[in-house]
């Protein structure tokens, strides 16, 4: 840094101020190259060509004002230190910019060359230190991730052995057991399962922290998922003499969520509720709609347990939070379950919270967004504010040859879907999120911005790519068909949004016909109400 002259990009629209600052800069002892531009657009263009050592920035430019100016510069050059040149009257704004990441600010009119030289040098030094710290932080996160992944792998191997032999003994495969021996082994199995859950949570929490938790949203019927969660948890509830029930309104629309992850959240909340509810108590899982929020389903798990003290309500979702009143029988694990659940819900664009009163039980609630086909279609079937001229609906049907092999057929469908996604242009075609199916045939739909003539190329590509899957060839059949979606009449008075709704409604109706009694989604109902 000392040998090379600092390259300063000065962004200042007032020629007088610009000249003064330039003069002050070159007056100093350190060698400086100054490039001066009057507008934000010019500055952004300069940053495209070369990154300077430092940016000196007037926040109020002809083409951008205030904090937005700084935000745009930061976005373009996140690693370049920025020093603000503020007027006498906008010092408050400069301070706000410092909070947003600006290194320093100087008030125009008071600038001496010594002061400026010092500000420039310190800003560069500080930014360098910050950068080094950030790199170290990233390395530490990476090391922690690798370490945890390694540890969890190493722990799983002996855990698997314990699990295998305990279950061998419990299943009587090594000879009959006395009653008390069975009881002892069941205790070992219970602890083994707890250990397993902890290892899983540890990895999940690490992923959540480093932003690697990912979800694959689909169009799902949340009522089915609720039933599934309740069915899965009923034995645990019964063991603890707790009643467990699901309640939902029949009119719940479909939601756009990852079914496996959502089930994980529900099971986590139900398991928690059971843990903190005394025998003869009850746990109720609910799905409902709330008038004030027209875009989400509200899900809740309510228990008749001892409730949470008010001061802990804000902490229960923290990492490693443990209930201080938990008794030994309620070993709570690592205190990561609720943290992970909340992260999963947040990834879906939902919220999670808890309401509770000591002695009156707790209610954990979260929201999941409705599935809106129009929202997904909008960026794909419109171009520069207009509905595209030609839109085609492609139908890809997979049918298993013999009686469904649930696990593996699901796998074939998933892999076909992955391949299908590679057969389209992401900016103008969309593979619709599939319904959760029960196992038999699966139909995928693609909305493609093309005409009936050219769609043949895409269909051939789909046939070729999916047909090449050996597992699909061996176990199922593939059928690809297409139909044009009627274009709106010339001079259609509807807004673009309404036209997209129209397409969404049309597509829904076509899909609906194929699904029989199952509902694909209630888009029509939603936006008609919204109007």
């Amino acid at each position: 840094m000392e040998h090379e002259p600092a390259r300063v990009l000065l962004i200042e629209d007032n020629p007088g101020d610009a000249d003064l600052v330039r003069l002050r800069l070159v007056e100093g002892k350190s060698a400086v190259q100054v490039n001066c531009v009057p507008r934000l657009a010019d500055a952004l263009a300069c940053l495209d060509v070369e990154m300077p050592t430092l940016v000196l920035l007037d926040l109020n430019l002809p083409d951008s004002r205030g904090a937005e100016t700084f935000r745009r510069i930061m976005q373009k050059a996140p690693n370049v230190p920025v020093v603000i040149l503020s007027g006498q009257d906008d010092e408050a704004l400069a301070i706000k910019a410092v909070h947003m990441g600006v290194q320093d600010y100087l008030v125009k009119g008071d600038i001496t060359s010594k002061q400026l030289e010092r500000a420039v040098r310190y800003a560069i030094e500080r930014q360098g230190l910050l950068r080094a710290l950030e790199i170290t932080r990233q390395q530490q996160i990476k090391f922690k991730d690798q370490f945890l992944s390694h540890v969890s792998h190493e722990l799983r191997t002996p855990l698997t052995c314990i699990y295998q032999y305990v279950t061998l003994l419990l299943d009587g495969l090594a000879g009959p057991l006395a009653a008390n021996q069975t009881d002892h082994l069941k205790a070992v199995l219970k602890s083994t399962n707890q250990l397993h859950a902890m290892i899983r949570d540890l990895l999940e929490a690490t992923r959540a922290e480093s932003g690697k938790l990912h979800i694959e949203p689909r169009c799902i019927d949340i009522r089915e998922l609720l039933q599934q969660a309740v069915t899965m948890m009923r034995p645990t509830a019964a063991e603890n003499h707790i009643s467990l029930a699901a309640a939902f309104e029949q009119t719940i629309p479909l939601v756009y969520a990852d079914p496996d992850r959502t089930l994980e959240v529900l099971i986590n909340l139900i398991d928690n509720a059971i843990k903190f509810t005394p025998p003869e108590g009850s746990v109720v899982v609910k799905a409902s709609l709330v008038e004030t929020d027209p875009s989400a389903v509200y899900l809740s798990v309510n228990d008749s347990g001892r409730g949470l003290p008010p001061e802990t309500l804000s902490q229960v979702f923290d990492r490693l939070y443990q209930d201080p009143n938990a008794v030994d029988g309620n070993r709570t694990g690592l205190g990561l379950g609720l943290y992970i659940a909340k992260e999963i819900v947040t990834l879906h664009g939902g919220r999670m919270w808890v309401a509770s009163e000591p002695g009156c039980g707790s209610t954990f609630s979260f929201t999941l967004p409705f599935y809106s086909l129009a929202k997904l279609l909008l960026p794909v079937i419109t171009d520069q504010g207009h509905l595209r001229e030609n839109i085609v609906l492609v139908r890809v049907e997979l049918a298993p040859l013999s009686k469904a092999l649930r696990g593996s057929w699901k796998e074939v469908c998933q892999r076909s879907l992955d391949r299908l996604r590679r057969c389209i242009y992401v900016d103008k075609d969309l593979v619709l999120p599939p319904m959760e199916t029960s196992g038999a045939g699966e139909t995928f739909f693609v909305v493609a911005s093309t005409d009936m003539k050219r769609v043949g190329i895409m269909m051939d590509r789909i046939r070729e790519h999916l047909g090449a899957l050996p597992k699909l060839k061996a176990s199922g059949t593939l059928r690809v068909t297409a139909e044009a979606i009627p274009a709106p009449p010339a001079g259609d008075p509807r807004t673009l949004e309404q036209q997209v709704w129209g397409v969404a409604d049309y597509v829904t109706e076509v899909i609906q016909q194929g699904l029989g009694s199952r509902q694909y989604f209630t888009e029509k109902e939603n936006h008609t109400n919204a109007n």
Binding site: R156, L203, K403, E411, R415
Partner: protein, 144 residues
């Protein structure tokens, strides 16, 4: 003791499952459970033996660990695909490794299912039975 073939009570052909894992205790526990569920088992402890034994024994299904000496699970999957006689054998991956990254990669390398250890016994058996019953990717007739 590298191979064990048990072919006792039943006159009908029993499906033969090859267990590939470098942990001898786990291999034995898995074999015990599989045999209790009327399957014959062949056990091997490394990647190289897995290929050799698959050619010799022609198992109906393979349970494969990923972390193995002498050629890891991916190498085994790759070699299995190279031999037409072995390419159709369904392979279930059973590993302590993270599904993230590995699940997709193993399925793309020809495995039919991925289980992370410890896998639930019943779930694993269900997938084994299902893949044998439908002759999943395996040309032969299904053993009953």
């Amino acid at each position: 003791m590298l191979t064990e073939s048990h072919n006792q009570e039943q006159p009908t052909r029993r499906a033969k499952i090859m267990v590939v894992d470098d942990d001898p205790d786990l291999r034995q526990a898995l074999s015990l459970r599989l045999r209790a569920n009327h399957f014959d088992t062949v056990n091997v402890c490394d990647g190289y033996s897995a290929i050799a034994m698959a050619q010799k024994e022609k198992p109906h299904l393979i349970i494969l660990d990923l972390g193995l000496p002498a050629g890891d699970g991916y190498t085994v999957l790759k070699h299995l695909q190279e031999f037409p006689a072995l390419a159709g054998i369904p392979v279930i991956v059973l590993t302590a490794r993270d599904p993230e990254g590995n699940e997709k990669r193993t399925l793309e390398s020809g495995a039919i299912a991925f289980f992370q250890k410890p896998a639930d016994n019943e779930e694993l058996l269900a997938v084994i039975r299902a893949s044998l019953q439908t002759g999943w990717g395996w040309g032969g007739s299904a053993p009953s």
